[in-house]
Symmetry: C2
Subunit: 178 residues, 2 copies
DNA sequence: CTGTGCATGTAAATCGTTACATGATTGC
DNA sequence: GCAATCATGTAACGATTTACATGCACAG
């Protein structure tokens, strides 16, 4: 799903400014998708052009003016139509795991450190998600949060139980290099 | 990791043509990364320009000529240097899961179908990975394969146990719409 | 007085896919 | 005869990030 579509979707939860949409990306979809201002603002302009959202300007005291966006009927319909499409396959990108494919080029110490750091990051993710999970209002947010926790927990367990495989590969290459 | 770097890495396993590198992406990294010819061939040309790989042309009987690439010493060093860098955070992109965030706009039937299909896809992934896992020669490949299986298995279990959350959200919105 | 939060935007650069272009061989 | 596999490449297009540009308010 591209930023444009996701912005439209986020606005179905209620009116918001570009700035708030950025936060919604972090809060609601942080696990899956993110977007920078450089993609959000142009996306909002395009959606407005297309009549899928509307915009009203509000001036504030002690704050910069803001543009509050709302979904139009066409926008809501367009988004629902988009949701009917066959979802694309998941994609899991991991620099660390990719690096592990080249364990034959790394020292056993480096491999161990990478795996330790990876586990640590997963644990931090779980902590953040657990914290957030209770605060979330909607069931779907709890669902996604829990999904993240489940996947990260499984990742940690797998690595703890199988890191010897990758560490062996590195050792092997290391001794061969002598 | 970008395609250029990954091509360099794949070549550390042995010489290969662009075509074979494409297959290596599928075989070794299919779970994590993929690349099209449109990115591989230009990457190989650039790496050659930079002197990180070298190229020899081989003509074949009954087959088109091919260009076989090898990593140079500089290339190997450059790649190892790249591996030392702090790996970027993992990113899990899922259209299906993102769609679930908008369950309030979907019929309960649609949500159920999406989840069923998602589980089915995960099961297919697991089957493919299990099959492949035995055939893999290197320990690191087995490790990655196993990782995929572990994550997908955890995903399925989580969804089976928690799909009621998301299905409730959809039902709620559905009844409110009446 | 410095960083953080609020608030919006543009332009350049990066990275990648898709589609096109070409062409032989092998298996069904 | 048609699809698949082998084999290489370019060009158009799309999406997104990064860096830049601006500016006020509040807390430590």
């Amino acid at each position: 799903m591209d930023v444009r579509t996701l912005c439209l979707g986020i606005l179905t939860f209620g009116d918001a400014t570009g700035y708030e949409i950025k936060k919604a990306f972090e809060d609601r979809l942080g696990l899956l998708y993110d977007a920078s201002f450089g993609s959000i603002y142009p996306a909002l302009n395009k959606l407005t052009e297309q009549g899928l959202i509307s915009c009203r300007e509000e001036s504030q005291d002690h704050r910069p003016d803001k543009k509050v966006y709302s979904v139009t009927q066409e926008g809501q319909l367009e988004f629902i139509k988009h949701l009917q499409r066959k979802p694309k396959a998941d994609k899991y990108r991991s620099d660390t795991l990719a690096t592990m494919m080249f364990a034959h080029l790394l020292s056993p110490g480096k491999v161990a450190t990478l795996l330790d750091n990876y586990i640590e990051t997963c644990e931090e993710n779980i902590a953040t998600l657990s914290e957030g999970c209770d605060m979330k209002s909607s069931l779907s947010e709890k669902f996604l949060c829990g999904f993240g926790i489940a996947v990260k927990t499984a990742s940690i367990n797998y690595i703890r139980e199988n890191r010897h495989l990758i560490e062996a590969e590195s050792l092997l290459a290391d001794s061969a290099a002598e």
